[in-house]
């Protein structure tokens, strides 16, 4: 039985719906070619916003595939003209043809990545795992962070661990002078996180590890209320902290695959 409420958010679909609306509007007002050009430009902007920028922020290389796909699709939309097929005897010109092949190839690659959850933010799985053995506890929420344990390791170990979690989209992380801050990101929430300078806010659930190894946890009210029941806040916080400590131990032992196995053991949808 899942402890989180089901995800009915359509935030992830907003860019898609927005681009279709703009396409329909410009086509109706200025003609089909203008509509295609506008859609192409929007896709180019999306490629940078959701592909390249996400890669820069997370270093997850698969975002480059997403970037390339949107970029090529955008270029194709721009060079595509109504009547092009007729003009070239039922075939696209060589430039457009090459882009079509590339779009298909990148689309299939992207589909493969999506199915394998390589581009999925894993915040939902993290919060489910944290709540696994936590019982109910009324009126126990507080917006105060609290220490939950200690890990041993050098500054580079801790920073490396944070980078690993970020690259695998398990947590969005931010390194400061004396600590790393790690925020579990659920699908649909990544837009807020990717474009914010500061992720260390009370609105975000976060696990903080200072370079002396002290681990502390803060769970946001929004994430706490996302559970079906009022869970024991103390146990939930400890459980989230211990989960990260376990992940760290596995990372240090070079058993990162166990981290992914554990996360994959929670079955949630590709887009939630």
């Amino acid at each position: 039985m899942k402890k989180l409420k089901s995800d009915n958010s359509i935030t992830g679909l907003v860019p898609f719906i927005f681009s279709l609306l703009i396409f329909a509007l410009t086509s109706a007002l200025f003609g089909f070619e203008a509509g295609l050009d506008t859609l192409g430009v929007i896709l180019l902007i999306y490629s940078v916003m959701f592909g390249l920028w996400a890669y820069v922020k997370t270093t997850n290389p698969y975002f480059l595939i997403s970037f390339s796909y949107l970029l090529v699709l955008g270029l194709f939309m721009i060079i595509l003209e109504p009547g092009m097929l007729k003009r070239y005897g039922g075939r696209l010109d060589s430039q457009a043809g090459f882009l079509v092949v590339l779009v298909y190839f990148l689309f299939l690659w992207l589909l493969f990545l999506l199915i394998n959850k390589r581009l999925k933010w894993r915040g939902r799985e993290i919060m489910e795992l944290a709540a696994t053995d936590v019982l109910e506890g009324e009126d126990s929420y507080t917006d105060r962070p609290r220490p939950v344990g200690k890990i041993s390791g050098s500054r580079s170990d801790i920073a490396g661990f944070a980078k690993y979690l970020r690259r695998k989209l398990i947590f969005m992380t931010s390194e400061e002078n004396d600590r790393v801050i790690m925020v579990p990101v659920k699908m649909g929430q990544e837009f807020k996180i990717l474009y914010k300078q500061n992720i260390d806010t009370v609105d975000n659930t976060r696990v903080t590890i200072d370079f002396e190894g002290n681990v502390s946890v803060h769970i946001s009210k929004r994430d706490y209320l996302d559970y079906r029941d009022d869970l024991s806040f103390h146990h939930l916080s400890e459980s989230l902290g211990n989960l990260v400590i376990d992940f760290y131990d596995q990372y240090i032992k070079r058993e990162e695959v166990r981290i992914i196995d554990k996360i994959n053991s929670i079955k949630v949808g590709y887009f939630s």
Binding site: G137, D139, P145, R146, P147, F233, H234, S237
Partner: protein, 202 residues
């Protein structure tokens, strides 16, 4: 009246603009009524009445009721030319209230629905301030307390509302707070208990 209260009352009297003048009148006159003193100094009779009553309460003067044309009133006369007061800061610490905490018998944790907000210090594992909402409705207001580093560390380690409560010593030990900081920890615990942020369990 305790020593501290007497010092406080005397300080208040002397801090008034007209304080010294009224004391002089008390010294010069054998006895004097509020009405006579107020007309002499051009002050409101109620102001002078309150002042003279305070001199009685700290034992500098005494009052005697007299009746004139069937109307009773008080006449005040000086009974002491000097007052010796000792200021002992320990008197400010209400020992009985913190004894319970000091003898380590009380377990504490954050209270449920405490209406408080803790702000983390920049880059540190401790809080810098706590804001508590006090009152309700139109009387609702925020009380903000700036914390010392030791207090911030202590509150960072304070058990959550549903966690096992701990003694002050145990929390101080977890937070690695030195013994010399204990009085300020006891003070913030007492204050936050009064503000319903901390729950004490005997």
């Amino acid at each position: 009246m305790t020593n501290i209260e007497m010092i406080s009352a005397l300080g208040t009297l002397l801090s008034k603009k007209y304080g010294k003048d009224l004391f002089k009148l008390l010294k010069v006159y054998n006895d004097i009524s509020a009405s006579e003193a107020s007309s002499r100094l051009g002050l409101h009779v109620q102001t002078v009445q309150e002042f003279l009553e305070s001199t009685v309460s700290i034992g500098l003067s005494e009052k005697k009721e007299v009746i004139e044309k069937k109307r009773p009133y008080f006449r005040y006369s000086l009974v002491k030319n000097e007052l010796s007061l000792k200021f002992d800061i320990n008197e400010l610490v209400e020992e009985s209230e913190i004894d319970q905490i000091k003898n380590n018998s009380v377990l504490i944790r954050e209270k449920k629905n405490s209406n408080s907000h803790f702000t983390m210090a920049r880059g540190g594992n401790f809080f810098s301030t706590i804001s508590v909402t006090v009152g309700s409705g139109r009387e609702r207001k925020q009380k903000r307390i700036n914390l010392t580093n030791a207090q911030g560390k202590f509150l960072f380690h304070l058990p959550f509302p549903d966690a096992k409560p701990l003694t002050i010593d145990k929390i101080m030990s977890e937070a690695q707070i030195e013994e010399k900081n204990k009085p300020e920890i006891e003070d913030i615990v007492k204050e936050l208990a009064n503000l319903n942020v901390i729950e004490k369990i005997d």
